[in-house]
Symmetry: C2
Subunit: 154 residues, 2 copies
């Protein structure tokens, strides 16, 4: 795991990264595999090591809206596992087979409680990450509004 | 300030709340007053005490998109001041004259650095808050997509 790419662990020192590595394991993912589903109790946080995965949400029963595609080693997902209500806010599916570094949510939260500094840094990174996603998503809402305005005007 | 309403300070004990109160001051706001603008360097975090304020974003030069209206004492805004790049992600304007509890970002960040536990709790609350807003905003994107789908189908 190249820690420099995993935003979640930015600022952790080598001994802290050692603890993170100790609670996770590498798992394989195969093309089309559902990694987790929106709304499910969130039992794992994942870091992409190889291959690619997509995050998506279901609009209506049969229509999926892609949110983002993760293809860079270090890309992290499932992080809503770390924040109340501890449920996945999106679904994740493997697009191209590869490997994930998988951490059990319980172990990660226990580690964060034991080593307060780890917990604090993770939460700071997470807040920055969610704000970034929030701004991006607001941009999308803006684009939709602009489209609507143009439709109304024409 | 009724701390029970300010999500940002959830979990802080009375002595920690004392420190928070010490770095802020009550300021008046008047109807129509621009409290801050999107993109500006974020120098303050605000808690509503009385009156109401709206958060909004500018779509095109002259069109504003309202994001939310804050009318409950304890409602907190300007929190993107606490996360890189330390700029406001929205604009805030007073709708109905009232009072704000205003905290200088620098003082709040200094306090968070001095009292690690305060910093940690604030960041945890902030991560949960941004995730909640992110989920709400994604819901809006979904609604827009549904509308588009219906338009395409009809």
């Amino acid at each position: 795991m190249d820690s420099s790419f995993a935003y979640l662990f930015q600022g952790l020192d080598e001994s802290q990264m050692e603890k993170i590595r100790a609670i996770g394991k590498e798992v394989a993912m195969t093309q089309g595999q559902q990694i987790f589903r929106e709304g499910q109790e969130a039992n794992g946080v994942y870091i992409l090591r190889q291959g690619s995965a997509e995050l998506l949400t279901v609009i209506e029963r049969e229509i999926e809206l892609p949110i983002s595609i993760l293809r860079d080693p270090g890309d992290t997902f499932g992080t809503s596992a770390l924040v109340p209500p501890y449920r996945y806010s999106l679904s994740a599916r493997c697009v191209e087979e590869g490997k994930l570094f998988s951490m059990e949510t319980k172990a990660l939260r226990r580690l964060a409680a034991e080593d307060h500094d780890i917990g604090c840094k993770i939460m700071t990174n997470l807040a920055a990450h969610f704000l970034e996603r929030l701004k991006e998503t607001r941009q999308e809402v803006k684009i939709h509004f602009k489209t609507l305005l143009m439709t109304t005007r024409s």
